[in-house]
């Protein structure tokens, strides 16, 4: 995002992605990946979650930088957040994958939100989680979008609702069902 040329590209791919072109995500990702990656890393590294910056705030800041370079319109904001959330999901799951590969059982700290219960064992289930999310997405794309914003980006329920243009209660209901569904998917013998 240091070059304005990139920002122009970001707007372009953001637009295409929000129009439903999944390939645009791959074109978009490298352009802001480093920033979001840093946010995620910081989150994963830090010992005291209540003293770290919320990823939401950092993504806001990233977005402001885009604004500042005035290549992104305010209307792109919710797309950008949705996109960032999707990317965070990727980053975090990739991270979990690597951790697993390195056979380190240091315990991945991924409580993006204290209310998030099912992430405790994400190390073992990260691959399943990824595919479960993909499966869930084919059934309820909006639900996954909400999950990403709420749990991978750490948005509050209200923020998530506002970004998706839904009511908070709709989002709450959708999240609760998605979580129950994912949990039952990840722990089949529960």
């Amino acid at each position: 995002m240091d070059s304005t040329a990139n920002s122009g590209e970001i707007t372009l791919w953001l637009g295409q992605w929000s129009q439903g072109d999944p390939a645009a995500l791959d074109r978009l990702a490298p352009l802001v990946y480093d920033q979001l990656r840093a946010i995620a890393d910081n989150l994963l590294r830090n010992e005291a979650p209540d003293h770290t910056l919320q990823p939401t705030a950092l993504v806001s800041e990233t977005f402001l930088k885009l604004l500042d370079l005035h290549r992104v319109s305010l209307n792109d904001r919710s797309h950008f957040f949705a996109f960032a959330a999707r990317l965070m999901r990727r980053v975090l799951i990739d991270h979990a994958r690597r951790e697993k590969a390195a056979k380190r059982s240091s315990g991945l700290r991924l409580p993006l939100d204290p209310e998030l219960g099912w992430t405790g064992s994400i190390n073992e289930v990260s691959l399943d989680l990824s595919s479960a999310l993909d499966e869930l997405e084919s059934l309820d794309a909006t639900g996954v979008r909400a999950l990403e914003l709420r749990y991978f980006l750490g948005c509050t329920g209200e923020e998530t609702a506002a970004l998706l243009g839904l009511s908070a209660s709709t989002v709450d209901r959708s999240l609760r069902f998605s979580l129950a569904w994912l949990n039952s998917r990840l722990h089949p013998k529960l």
Partner: protein, 920 residues
């Protein structure tokens, strides 16, 4: 769980949700068995989902967290995280009674000892707030890390909206509960405390059914007035604050008063009544909500009860049942009338139209409950809202509102959940963010919004509002020179939007001048102190240039021209001091060109009097433009300036040296070749290209090179036709099409192509027809059409189409006579009317006497135009005054270029005719 289809998944979600409302146990299981209707896979899937849910919820509540301490309170859990900070559940740890409290802590506030005193005062006020329906304030302080916190009574309860639904409260019971809430708010108002953030999540209902209002005065107390410092800080929604409950004035960032709480209570009542918020259309992004709150009227609550066939109906049914009513329709009927009226009055866009106090609002609700007529009248209130809407332009304003809210969020409080660990760093960062955002709004966003039709007033509003922020920031750091320069540049931008005659503006020249003067006043001392501050000096010169141009356009042109001259001189000095700075060079090019125009253009035509001075200035302009383009090759605006300056040289040179002028018209055209292919297609470049082609075509035509002339004019015609078609609503673009069309007709006439000439005149008349369809009384359009019709009539006669000729001439001449004969008739109009009256082939319409009086008046107004002298000569001739005819054509010959161009040869032929021919 086996793979399921999307439909099955959605069905499961619905059943799942319904089952969750039943406590776990045999009843719930029974429900599951029922809905799965014998399908074992469904039953199993549902049961597993519910089990999984219990598991997830259980783990969520036991998630460990490292929790902070606040004085003698130890946090036990996080209740929520919001835009402003976090709320913790905490207990007192000093060995006494275990006492549960809620602690609200603000993250990332710019805190300073100065604010300490105010914070203490505010806490005292809060401590005085003692009401059974208001959560008690207990304590407050500042954490070791500098974050202020407030300790409040911990309230166990349910959100008011959820509670009403779960208890299936009837409308009357809801109103009773609402009255208790209103009582609490009213009590606080008596203590001069406004809540400003009333929403269902701030109003809990205890198990005893009593409401408890949270966060009274918190917004104000926890928000130090980082900027302004007058204690009048406003709570403006930050990035994430929900605009759903905020009143229009709060969203606009105005100082909120009691009316703000009246409005929020109105939203609350609305929602309690019909289950929807006034502005919650399904898929609205926040920007759209802001737009609606500001400018749209919500449907009355009765109409908001969903009752369309289909899913909507079942939702409506649910809403009705939660209110103890059988059908959505019955609920609608119950809300219609008084309750619609009461909410409408509470939700009026303007605080003046709302209930004057919460008490009055409550009184009306009580009257309704008692069966008395209410004060609010349904029709009146919703109508007022509509009127308000009609007065406002909404669209772009919403964008502005959001960005302003962003800035305000940074200036006033914080939108980041940032712990104030690195307080100073954070303060600087936020300061810079606010500044950059204001700058973005002033300099960038308004330029992009500028492309939207009808957006100019909004831009003016945006700029002036963000200037307020810059002003405040600048006051805070008055010795920050760069910030002062930015502020001045903001004033320049504002002035441009208000009334720069060369830019889209909202037509307020007086305010524009005031704003230019303000910018100059800020910049003058800075440039005196720091002569090396290039930005400041450039801005100062720009301020003078545009102030001069503004004055030049509203009378008193001597002062205006002088300012333009001084500004141009300053730009010259700047360019000498910083010869390789692109902006300096580019501005110098603009300034010299403006100066040249101020010298040469008087009343719209090229004047000959100052031509030499003007030529010198315009050559300077091209010099600077060329230098700028060496620094930034192909830069669009500068290329356009260069092209335009060459064309001006051509125009000025043509007056005395038509062949010499050709070179400059060609240069004007060639200059555009250095643009990138993409820029070449821009509106700016196409406009410049068509102008250059017009100049060149006219010049070549008058030199007798008809094929080349016609080629240029044809291309100009095509470009302008395309530009106009692309922007069909743009009247000016349509008008610009008449010029190449008319010139084509004239040059075809010179070349002896009578039929083509006629066709082009008729084309031109048709364009005027379209213009006149839009503005029927516009004198410029009427005169323009009459002129081409008159010429067309003569050609039609020549081609033997006498009926057509008659019709055209009879349409044209009365209009020409009327407009030229009016007191406002210009020299050119008088001359054109005179010529038509002399030369019309429809002989019955000829009027040499009137023509002579027109021609005389025209030549008195402008004695330097060869063509006017020629028309005067012709007028004398037809009035049988050989002596004056000869004298006038000789004068024309002295004024026209001395090289033997066809025009000059024509004049010479005319002279010989006057000298030798028989009088007509």
């Amino acid at each position: 769980m086996p793979a399921v289809s999307q439909e099955r998944f959605q069905q499961l979600a619905v059943w799942f949700e319904a089952a969750l409302r039943i406590p776990p146990g045999p009843v719930r299981d029974e429900y599951v068995t029922q809905v799965s209707a014998g399908d074992e896979t469904v039953r199993e899937a549902l049961l597993r989902l519910l089990e999984s849910d219990t598991d997830v919820q259980g783990r969520a509540s036991s998630a460990p967290a490292r929790l902070p301490r606040f004085g003698s309170y130890q946090a036990r859990g996080l209740l929520g995280v919001g835009g402003m900070g976090a709320v913790y559940r905490a207990t007192r740890e000093d060995g006494e009674l275990r006492h549960e409290v809620a602690v609200k802590v603000v993250a990332g506030v710019m805190w300073s000892p100065v604010l300490d005193e105010r914070f203490r005062r505010e806490r005292q006020i809060l401590a005085g707030l003692q009401h059974p329906y208001i959560a008690r304030f207990l304590d407050g302080g500042i954490t070791g890390e500098g974050a202020p916190y407030l300790v409040m009574e911990y309230v166990e309860g349910e959100r008011i909206d959820a509670w009403c639904d779960h208890q299936r409260l009837t409308i009357d019971a809801r109103l009773e509960l609402f009255l208790k809430v209103a009582e609490a708010v009213s009590y606080a108002h008596q203590k001069l405390i406004v809540h400003r953030d009333l929403k269902p999540s701030n109003i809990l209902v205890t198990c005893g059914g009593e409401p408890r209002l949270l966060d009274f005065g918190v917004a104000r107390t926890l928000q130090p007035t980082a900027v302004g410092g007058d204690g009048q800080s406003t709570l403006t929604p930050g990035l994430f604050a929900t605009p759903l409950y905020a009143s229009p004035e709060l969203l606009r960032g105005e100082n909120p008063g009691v009316g703000c709480d009246v409005y929020s209570l109105g939203v609350l009542l609305y929602e309690m009544l019909c289950g929807r918020r006034p502005f919650s259309g399904a898929n609205l992004p926040p920007a759209a909500i802001v737009e609606q709150v500001l400018f749209t009227d919500a449907p009355p609550p009765s109409a908001a009860v969903p009752d369309n066939p289909g899913i909507d109906q079942s939702v409506g049914q649910g809403v009705a049942e939660a209110r103890g009513v059988d059908h959505a329709r019955a609920l609608r009927r119950q809300l219609q009338g008084d309750l619609d009226a009461i909410t409408a009055k509470a939700l009026a866009k303007s605080p003046a139209d709302r209930y004057a106090s919460v008490e009055q609002f409550a009184e009306d609700v009580r009257r309704y409950l008692a069966g008395y007529p209410v004060q609010a009248s349904a029709v009146g209130a919703w109508q007022r809202t509509r009127k308000f809407v009609a007065r406002n332009k909404a669209r772009v304003a919403a964008v502005a509102a959001i960005v302003l809210a962003l800035i305000a969020g940074l200036v006033g409080t914080t939108w980041q959940a940032r712990v104030a660990q690195q307080e100073r760093v954070a303060s600087d960062r936020r300061f810079n963010q606010a500044r950059e955002l204001a700058r973005y709004l002033v300099f960038e966003l308004q330029t992009s919004v500028g492309d939207l039709p009808g957006s100019t007033p909004v831009r003016a509003e945006m700029v002036s509002r963000s200037l307020e922020y810059l002003d405040r920031l600048s006051a805070e750091r008055s010795n920050d020179e760069n910030l002062r320069v930015e502020l001045a540049r903001g004033y320049l931008q504002l002035a441009d939007v208000l009334g720069n005659p060369f830019w889209p503006n909202i037509g307020q020249p007086a305010r524009a001048k005031e704003s230019y003067r303000k910018a100059i006043a800020i910049l003058a001392p800075i440039t005196a102190k720091s002569p090396e501050n290039r930005d400041a000096r450039l801005s100062l010169a720009r301020g003078k240039l545009f102030l001069g141009q503004s004055i030049g356009f509203s009378g008193g042109s001597a002062e205006g021209r002088e300012l333009v001259r001084v500004a141009t001189e300053e730009f010259g000095q700047l360019a000498a001091r910083w010869p390789s700075d692109f902006a300096t060079r580019s501005w110098a090019a603009v300034a010299y060109s403006s100066y040249a125009k101020s010298l040469s253009i008087q009343q719209g035509y090229v004047a000959t009097s100052n031509a030499d001075q003007a030529l010198a200035a315009i050559h300077e302009s091209t010099g600077h433009a060329l230098a700028a383009l060496r620094l930034k090759p192909g830069e669009l605006v500068t290329v356009r300036q260069l092209s335009s300056s060459y064309k001006t040289i051509g125009d000025l040179t043509e007056l005395h040296d038509r062949p010499g002028a050709t070179e400059y018209f060609r240069k004007s055209l060639a200059a555009l070749d250095q643009l990138s292919p993409q820029d070449r297609e821009s509106v700016v470049a196409l406009g410049a290209r068509s102008s250059a082609l017009l100049g060149l075509g006219w010049n070549l035509g008058n030199l007798g090179d008809y094929p080349a002339s016609l080629r240029s004019l044809e291309e100009a015609r095509r470009i302008r036709e395309r530009m106009s078609n692309q922007d069909p609503k743009n009247v000016q673009a349509l008008y610009f099409r008449t010029i190449p069309s008319r010139n084509l007709a004239i040059i075809h006439g010179f070349a002896g192509h009578t039929a083509e000439s006629l066709a082009n005149f008729l084309d031109t008349a048709a364009i005027y027809d379209r213009l006149l369809a839009r503005s029927p009384s516009n004198p410029t359009f009427r005169f323009g059409r009459a002129e081409v019709q008159s010429s067309a009539a003569n050609l039609a006669m020549k081609l033997g189409r006498s009926v057509e000729a008659d019709r055209l001439a009879n349409a044209a001449l009365p209009v020409l006579k009327q407009i030229a004969g009016s007191p406002d008739g210009s020299d050119v109009e008088l001359a054109i009317a005179a010529r038509s009256l002399l030369e019309t082939e429809v002989r019955s319409l000829r009027d040499p006497k009137l023509a002579l009086s027109f021609a005389l008046k025209s030549s008195r107004m402008n004695g330097k135009e060869a063509e006017i002298q020629e028309i005067l000569a012709e007028a004398y001739w037809f009035n049988r005054d050989r002596e004056h005819a000869v004298e006038s054509i000789q004068k024309a010959l002295a004024l026209i270029e001395q090289t033997p161009t066809p025009a000059r040869q024509n004049f010479e032929k005319t002279l010989r005719r006057y000298q030798t021919a028989k009088l007509p």
